[in-house]
């Protein structure tokens, strides 16, 4: 049975700014998976654990966060904070006996780089391999 994963991406304004150019069509042309829904936030440091968990509650099979490079965050430590919250959710998923790999953190430079598209493809491939979320089977 074919499985089209629902994936939620939280990305900071700076890292994702070019991805929204041309109404996002450029991103699609570069091969960014269409099944990824992007939520832009002013800074990934603002993303709470509850926001990440809610994405799973709302039916996400996978979640990922893309923020600034560790040593180059526009808001100094925002993406480092985000990475720690992603790690906290990984730990919580493990406690529920769910694959921790259903959530990941990526630190990428700002603008539309091949790495941004690659992160999306990586998550899409991984979640397809993991299968549907055990929270909604």
């Amino acid at each position: 049975m074919s499985f089209e994963p629902k994936i939620i991406l939280f990305s900071c304004h700076y890292t994702s700014q070019q991805s929204c150019a041309e109404q996002g069509t450029e991103l699609q042309l570069l091969g960014f998976p269409k099944n990824i829904t992007m939520i832009r936030v002013p800074c990934t440091g603002k993303i709470q654990v509850t926001s990440l968990l809610k994405a799973f509650e709302d039916g996400a099979d996978g979640v990922f966060v893309v923020g600034c490079p560790v040593d180059g965050c526009h808001n100094v430590k925002g993406s480092v904070r985000a990475a720690k919250r992603v790690a906290a959710v990984k730990k919580a998923l493990e406690e529920l006996d769910v694959e921790a790999g259903r959530i990941e953190m990526f630190h990428l430079p700002r603008g539309l780089h091949p790495e941004f598209v690659a992160a999306g493809v990586t998550m899409d491939t991984k979640i397809r391999a993991l299968g549907p979320s055990p929270f909604h089977r």
Partner: protein, 222 residues
């Protein structure tokens, strides 16, 4: 403050597995400050409970509530606003809060979401350290303000034990030898001679060994 940490999710899920609706009740006292059971942590817990039970194919209705504290009768009365909306309360307060709900609401099923760990303070952001054991007979005036009851692994009154190396405890190499610290601190304060006073055998009856303790301020009672 009282420091606590969330119980493992498997333990919490097991508590509520037969419930159809629960109230996750946070406390805005100590456990908010130590980021274990405040409104934010309760929201995350509510989400994890829903997810954990969904994974088992069960739907549970989780409502969230918050009290200023769960260690005072007048605040516990606030629980009544959720009457009829839950089968059980999952309290994110310390053990005191859970006890208070059990004491004052005989009809309510209440479960602890946290393990209450110690009296401590925030050493730095995200790190809390035990500082006081609540032993009921404070000796801090003799030890430069550093507690040997809570912070010496052996609760020695006449330390150090001789097992510490480089100022670190032999029980845990990451823990400072508090008696070394007491010695250094008293020396720095010009009170080194205080270390030579032998503390007598201690009466631990104030430390809870005689059952639950009670404090009465007659001038405040009604």
């Amino acid at each position: 403050m009282i420091v606590a940490e969330r119980k493992p999710m498997a333990e919490i899920i097991e508590m509520v597995r037969d419930c159809a609706k629960i109230l996750v009740l946070s406390c805005r006292g100590c456990v908010t400050v130590c980021s274990a059971g405040g409104e934010r942590e309760a929201a995350a817990l509510a989400s994890l409970i829903r997810l954990g039970l969904k994974k088992q194919g069960k739907d549970i209705q989780v409502i969230e509530g918050s009290l200023v504290r769960q260690c005072d009768k007048e605040y516990i009365d606030g629980i009544d606003q959720w009457n009829g909306q839950y089968d059980a309360i999952v309290s994110t307060a310390c053990g005191v809060g859970v006890n208070f709900i059990a004491n004052l609401r005989p009809e309510a099923v209440v479960y602890p979401a946290l393990n209450t760990t110690f009296f401590g303070g925030s050493a730095e952001q995200g790190i809390w350290m035990e500082q006081c054991a609540g032993c009921g007979d404070c000796v801090l005036h003799l030890t430069g303000g550093l507690c040997p009851v809570a912070r010496c692994a052996k609760s020695l009154m006449n330390g150090p034990c001789g097992g510490s190396v480089g100022g670190k405890c032999e029980i845990n190499k990451e823990t400072e030898c508090i008696w070394q610290s007491i010695h250094d601190r008293l020396g720095g304060l010009g009170k080194k001679a205080q270390m030579e006073t032998i503390a007598p055998i201690r009466d631990w009856s104030t430390a809870g060994h005689g059952g639950p303790r009670k404090t009465v301020r007659a001038d405040l009672t009604i």
